[in-house]
């Protein structure tokens, strides 16, 4: 059965499902529930077909490419080329959009009377459709069209809740940054077109030798800026913590789980596949960007009190980890060690998949908490585990996966990235070894800090006593939202358990790329599904770890509850508060928790701590009524780079505005002067 659905017609059926969904939900926008039903029905069906299509593509390992030429312009052809790499990304897109759409059915109910659901459905399906187009397009212009449709539709989803002004600001910042990124991408395609004369990826790949090295470096810089802005690497990340929280939760899950991966996809497609004979310093730069983004991403996440901003910063950190894998792959390939390059690429692809899964799980569970609490500030949460036990469980699984704790999928992709970096440290000479050591240390510190951040997040949100009265009135999220999250948690465990099998598939995907045609495997499968690095440097097996932990836990629980002191009485009392009855002021707050880490890293973060004290009566300063301490970390990128840039453009524009001085004599003198200058210059 799988055989018949791989031809190109099935891809068009897949695309058409989404576009039908978009149009139909627009038509029925008058009645909210029908529009909601239609849009999520089509997106679910569409993502299911996407799953079948990509799985069959990967298993049968076939490439698909077909071209529809557009009659009116010579260089723009609607051409698709789906190799295993794009099939893998189609798999990620459809997996996450499937569960987000299921989640969305329940989540959209609270938008019913406020905004039109039909418009939401339209842009939501358009976004998923354009995501599929982005990862399969193989003509520069067609890719740019899909890329911009994706940005525009995600913009309209970010500003969907438009009565809140900072959503608008966030959306504005988002579209401006993506647009500037697209301008850089257009620039690089123009340079390529200048030397190769065509926008087709296949022609570019074959004619790559025509481009001189200096131009190739420019193209590299432009593409890094362009796709880096979309992927959210450090200097260009300022839109990500603003835009993702503004969007409805299942859209921000889709955006941070999948959309920023399109930037990574294009980096892989360009650097690994198309512009291939590349100099070494490209890989080194990506490695450095990866380590900076991962380290700073997690540090900024620690200072955050808004749950969705915290998760958005973690997306930046995980993109950094993916880039570590990619950077090491590029370095290895330019030092002609193809097996290690394949290992690095496998690590980054595996982490892309894992990050998509656990990040969207985290966003969805955070979304259902916000949906109940109507505020994103975690200082007002607390004790939610008693009211929303299943959401708490999903958030726990998500945070354990993201901080790479073993039984879950996060650990195994980070393990692979570690192996790639260790091979770098072991086999390369001194100068490269230094860079790999920096990368490995940043990965190690990021792991530790991510653990701290998610202890803070989970502890402050779900554990201990409620910090605001709203908590007592909330109830568990509706069924469809829990199903969405449940499946994602299951996926996170499954991909952890079968990490051996998935790394085999990833290796097959990697070998499909032209540069890895003849490289032999560096990792091999052992009979119990583990991943073994060559000459037994290292090996890990997920099922064994899982089985060992489960057996010992049940043994310990059995022994210590039923064998020793079976009839032990447990009394429920207040927490020991040295005689005071503990209210919410005694609990630790998010600021308190992160204060020590922030002060340790105060060189990088430059925090500013203000404390306001309110006294009972003004003159006697001895009886403070309340004391509020706020730690604020300055956004240095905004302060030192983006704000001055905006001011310069503003000043120049104010200067040019007084061309329009209102005085007619001045206007006529402009014409006269330009006439004289033109005449004198020409004659």
């Amino acid at each position: 059965m799988l055989e018949i659905i791989t031809p190109s017609v099935s891809f068009f059926v897949l695309l058409s499902i989404f576009f039908i969904g978009a149009i139909s939900s627009l038509i029925y926008q008058k009645n909210d529930s029908i529009a909601n039903f239609l849009s999520s029905f089509f997106s679910i069906i569409g993502s299911l077909c996407g799953l079948f299509f990509s799985v069959s593509m990967i298993i049968y390992g076939k490439n698909l490419s077909f071209i529809i030429n557009y009659p009116y312009s010579s260089f723009f052809k609607i051409s698709f080329h789906i190799d295993l790499l794009s099939a893998f990304f189609i798999f990620i897109i459809s997996l996450i959009s499937l569960f987000c759409s299921i989640y969305g059915v329940g989540y959209l109910k609270h938008f019913y009377k406020k905004y039109s659901i039909g418009v939401f459905g339209f842009f939501y399906n358009l976004l998923i459709g354009s995501l599929l187009l982005v990862v399969t397009a193989s003509n520069g212009i067609f890719f740019l069209i899909a890329w911009e449709i994706m940005s525009i539709s995600s913009y309209f989803l970010v500003v969907y809740d438009r009565y809140d002004t900072d959503n608008i600001k966030a959306g504005f910042l988002y579209l401006i940054m993506t647009y500037v990124g697209t301008v850089f991408i257009i620039l690089s395609f123009l340079f390529i077109y200048k030397y190769i004369g065509s926008f087709e990826f296949i022609d570019i790949k074959s004619g790559i030798s025509l481009i001189p090295l200096s131009i190739k470096n420019n193209i590299f810089i432009f593409t890094i800026i362009g796709f880096g802005t979309k992927a959210g690497i450090i200097p260009f990340h300022i839109w990500l913590p603003a835009a993702h929280p503004a969007a409805p939760s299942h859209v921000s899950a889709l955006m941070s789980g999948v959309m920023i991966k399109t930037g990574v996809y294009m980096m892989i497609r360009l650097f690994v596949d198309i512009l291939q004979p590349i100099p070494v310093w490209w890989g080194i730069l990506i490695l450095i960007i990866g380590s900076i983004s991962s380290l700073l991403g997690v540090l900024y996440a620690l200072t955050e009190h808004d749950i969705k901003r915290l998760l958005a910063f973690h997306s930046i950190e995980n993109i950094g980890i993916i880039l570590l894998g990619l950077g090491s792959a590029l370095i290895f390939y330019s030092l002609n060690m193809p097996e290690l390059a394949l290992l690095g690429l496998m690590a980054s692809l595996f982490h892309t998949l894992n990050h998509a899964i656990f990040k969207s799980l985290l966003f969805l569970s955070a979304g259902s908490v916000i949906n109940e609490m109507h505020t994103r500030n975690i200082e007002e949460y607390g004790g939610i585990i008693k009211y929303m036990p299943q959401t708490a469980m999903f958030f726990l699984i998500g945070s354990m996966a993201i901080s790479a704790l073993p039984p879950f999928n996060g650990f195994f992709s980070e393990w692979l990235t570690y192996q790639a970096l260790f091979q770098g440290v072991a086999q390369l000479n001194l100068s490269f070894q230094g860079i790999f050591i920096i990368a490995a240390s940043s990965l190690a510190f990021t792991g530790g800090l991510a653990l701290t951040c998610f202890v803070k997040a989970f502890g402050i949100i779900f554990l201990a006593r409620p910090r605001s009265t709203k908590v007592s009135s909330i109830k568990e999220s509706p069924l469809s939202m829990r199903i969405g999250m449940g499946f994602l948690a299951l996926m996170s465990i499954l991909f952890g358990l079968f990490s051996g099998y998935t790394s085999r598939l990833l290796e097959k995907i990697g070998k499909d790329l032209s540069i890895f045609k003849d490289t032999n495997y560096f990792t091999s499968a052992s009979f119990y599904q583990g991943i073994d690095i060559k000459n037994s440097f290292a090996s890990v097996s997920a099922p064994i770890i899982f089985v060992v932990l489960i057996i010992i836990i049940f043994a310990v629980i059995f022994i210590f509850t039923f064998v020793i002191n079976k009839n032990q009485k447990i009394k429920i009392e207040n927490t020991w508060g040295c005689g005071l009855n503990l209210n919410k002021r005694a609990e630790i707050t998010a600021t308190g928790f992160a204060r020590s880490i922030i002060l340790v890293f105060k060189g990088i973060l430059k925090p500013s701590i203000q404390n306001e004290v309110e006294y009972h009566d003004a003159d006697s300063r001895y009886l403070p009524k309340s004391r509020v301490i706020t730690i604020h970390v300055k956004n240095i990128y905004n302060y030192y780079f983006y704000q001055p840039l905006r001011n310069i453009i503003n000043i120049i524009s104010l200067k040019t505005k007084n061309i329009q001085s209102g005085n007619i004599n001045a206007y006529i003198s402009y014409i006269f002067i330009s006439l004289i200058i033109a005449l004198l210059s020409v004659l």
């Binding site: 009659p71 212009i141 069209i145 890329w147 911009e148 002004t165 257009i186 620039l187 120049i652 505005k657």
Partner: protein, 480 residues
């Protein structure tokens, strides 16, 4: 023969309206006239796509570029007349203007459309100059329609600057006649005649002539150093007139420059005119982008966007070859999108009766359909991909990167600033919470249908170009 229909219908309606008192008859007559004009321009376009040239009379001939422009004018005149009927009814209901003003409006409108059609189809350069001068005269009073000091100031500046520009253009066109005088006969001198014996044109005189023409008709088109009248005129004129000025008048003026450019290219070689056009094009994109960054009035914003697009067209035509094809396509898309933008800004003005950007808040909930029109118009005009203008801009840039890399990079950079500036104003106008006192109403059908038709038209044209139009455009690409 259809051309005569057009002219006759416009002159007829203009004269009859003077005599009639009943308002409904006036409106029906003008709509009828513009409908006749539209139908006959379509016929002319079909004829030209078949025969290549259409000359009903000795001094009226329409080539491919002329027919495209007549098609544009025909479409836009129909839409604007229908729109202005409803627009003026709204204005009279808010008793801003009386009946005499309405009558005066329709007379001048018909004269303006007639002179534009004649200018597009004139066979002799001086003949074309006379009718472009006639368009300036007929629109002078249309701009000062609201009889407020500010609209009077705008009209005065429009009149003075345009007359100076056209006089310089007049001198320039006359200099082209040095090739013909030594032949003695001062019989009727057509474009083709000038083009045939352009080879014995003294190159230095040709250069001076082209500069005079570019500066002269450049004021009419609105390239940068000569653009100063445009923001004032477009912001003070009623919305349909603004649409006509930027949608229809701009291509007409551009056509004259292009026809004269062909003659200079034969005499002096293409490089001279290309460099000038590219210089003025990039300059217009740059200055328009920078001024647009903090405009305060959304109609002036549209004016600067027309200047920027005029710059893009000049840049396209300056590149030659594939660039000309893209620039003509860009001209068509831009004219139609500008109509959508101006007419929806007219609706905004009717609802908010202030054209300051800061007074318009939360328009998406107040006038939902108009805001959707305006936002999609904005997305089209700034060249976001799925629509046609992105393709034409990319084509111009990709042709430009080969021959003039620095200029195209500067152009791309400023196009980004245009998007950012325009987008900043659109978000501040459309997305916030609406003011309390404005009630939601978008029920005047006739205010919505014309811009909607044009939006659908642009959307359709981005994907499918009818064959006859395609032949016309490729013929233009060959000749110019």
């Amino acid at each position: 023969m259809e051309l005569l229909f057009i002219i006759a219908s416009f002159i007829g309606t203009a004269l009859i309206i003077i005599l009639i008192k009943n308002r409904l008859v006036i409106e029906l007559l003008s709509i009828g006239a513009s409908f006749v004009a539209f139908i006959s321009s379509v016929f002319i376009a079909l004829k030209v796509s078949v025969f290549g040239i259409y000359t009903p009379l000795v001094f009226l001939s329409v080539d491919s570029l002329g027919s495209i422009i007549m098609l544009i004018i025909g479409l836009i005149c129909l839409a604007t007349t229908i729109y202005s009927v409803e627009y003026l009814r709204q204005e009279t209901s808010k008793n801003i203007i009386g009946f005499t003003r309405v009558k005066q409006y329709f007379i001048l409108l018909n004269l303006f459309l007639m002179s534009m059609f004649l200018a597009a189809s004139a066979n002799n350069p001086i003949f074309a100059w006379i009718f472009i001068e006639a368009t300036t005269l007929s629109t002078a009073f249309l701009i000062s329609f609201y009889n407020k000091p500010s609209s009077l100031e705008a009209a005065w500046k429009y009149l003075i600057i345009n007359s100076i520009g056209l006089l310089l253009g007049f001198l320039g066109t006359l200099l082209y006649f040095t090739t013909t005088t030594n032949l003695g006969g001062n019989d009727f001198v057509s474009w083709q005649f000038l083009q045939d014996n352009a080879h014995n044109f003294d190159p230095m005189v040709a250069k001076i002539a082209f500069i005079f023409v570019l500066i002269g008709y450049g004021t009419k088109v609105g390239l940068v150093p000569m653009h100063t009248w445009k923001p004032d005129a477009y912001s003070k004129a009623p919305a349909p007139i603004g649409a006509l000025l930027s949608g229809a008048l701009l291509p007409v003026a551009f056509a004259v420059i292009l026809k004269l450019k062909v003659i200079t290219d034969i005499a002096v070689g293409p490089l001279f005119s290309h460099n000038l056009l590219i210089f003025f094009g990039v300059l217009s994109i740059a200055v328009a982008a920078l001024i647009m960054f903090n405009a305060k009035n959304y109609k002036r914003l549209l004016a600067y966007s027309s200047i920027e697009n005029a710059g893009v067209m000049a840049f396209g035509f300056g590149l030659g070859g594939l660039g000309v094809f893209a620039a003509t396509l860009h001209m068509i898309y831009h004219s139609f999108v500008k109509v959508v933008l101006f007419l929806s800004s007219g609706n905004l003005l009717l609802r908010y009766n202030s054209d300051k950007i800061k007074n318009v808040k939360g328009a998406l909930s107040v006038v939902p359909v108009t805001s959707v029109l305006f936002i999609s118009g904005f997305l089209i005009v700034t060249g976001t991909p799925p629509f046609g203008i992105f393709l034409t801009k990319m084509q111009i840039l990709s042709v430009g990167i080969n021959t003039h890399p620095v200029a195209s990079i500067i152009a791309l950079f400023f196009m980004a600033i245009v998007f950012i500036g325009f987008f900043k104003h659109v978000t501040s106008m459309f997305f916030e919470e609406k003011q309390v006192d404005i009630e939601i109403s978008d029920k005047h059908i006739w205010l919505i249908i014309p811009p909607l038709i044009f939006l659908v038209l642009v959307f359709g044209l981005s994907f499918y170009i009818p064959p006859f139009l395609y032949t016309l455009i490729s013929d233009v690409a060959v000749k110019y």
